[in-house]
């Protein structure tokens, strides 16, 4: 799944997706961020995370000005395998915490999340 995200201005906490419920069991296999529109903002840096339910960190990576200066450039997020299983009722959030943030003033990224799942039966 490809999730386009406009890099937020300022340094406040930010959620690109809040509590989306996929509704079936699956695992986050990998995740990566690629630059769609080159960013600006001197010294800019923001951590992006995939969160399960309220606060379980599934994947994380830090986007910097240098990494997003060129469309197509990107980075792989670090996935914590032990947290990567989503069951039916789990929610999926993409956020960027305030801690450590240095503001971007422009830029768009694509978050690419690869899932794997077993074949499913329908109730």
């Amino acid at each position: 799944m490809v999730i386009p995200i406009t890099l937020p201005a300022g340094t406040s906490a930010f959620e690109a997706i809040t509590d989306h419920q996929p509704g079936y069991r699956r695992f986050v296999e990998s995740a990566a961020i690629f630059t769609a529109v080159a960013s600006t903002g001197a010294g800019a840096t923001r951590e992006f995370r995939i969160i399960k339910n309220a606060s379980t960190v599934v994947a994380t990576g830090t986007v910097t000005l240098a990494l997003t200066a060129t469309p197509g450039a990107g980075l792989s997020l670090t996935v914590t395998d032990a947290n990567a299983e989503f069951v039916d009722g789990d929610t999926f959030t993409v956020d960027s915490p305030a801690a450590g943030a240095v503001a971007f003033t422009a830029g768009v990224i694509n978050l690419i999340v690869n899932f794997r799942s077993r074949l499913q039966a329908v109730s």
Binding site: E15, I17, H20, Y24, R26, L119, Q120
Partner: protein, 139 residues
């Protein structure tokens, strides 16, 4: 809710489409007749706010259709200004399961209807479509 199954189960997948909330009140197809090319059933559609919506009283009917801009409505909602008030917010677009089977030749359209529209002036969405399909055989 789906459950894991044996060899004859379903494959669930999600696709995301970035679209703008169109200005004005005319009919707009954000995606028009996208070929799918394989059989699948849409089970859920969500609209995630990417850029906050603007436009006093903004309200537009958003349809996911099978076929063209006049095709069968698979999922529909009236998207209003408050639905797009917060980046990251998720709005459900209810699916009519009886209409949600796509065959090999069926196309996908995401369309904003003209009827009853009150104009937005800004806003962007990510449409997340969940679908299920059987394992496929290649020709």
């Amino acid at each position: 809710m789906p459950r894991e199954a044996g060899a004859h189960g379903w494959i669930f997948a999600q696709e995301a489409f970035a679209i703008n909330i169109p200005a004005g009140t005319g009919q707009v197809s954000s995606i028009l007749s996208l070929p799918r090319g394989f059989g699948a059933t849409i089970t859920a559609v969500k609209a995630v706010t990417k850029v906050v919506a603007a436009g006093a009283g903004g309200s537009r009917v958003l349809n996911v259709r099978k076929g063209s801009a006049t095709g069968t409505v698979v999922a529909t909602t009236t998207y209003v200004l408050t639905d797009g008030a917060t980046v990251g917010g998720v709005k459900d677009i209810p699916v009519t399961l009886a209409a949600a089977d796509f065959l090999d030749g069926d196309n996908l359209t995401i369309e904003w209807a003209a009827a009853g529209a009150v104009a937005f002036t800004a806003g962007e969405l990510t449409i997340v479509i969940t679908s299920r399909k059987r394992p496929q055989q290649r020709n």
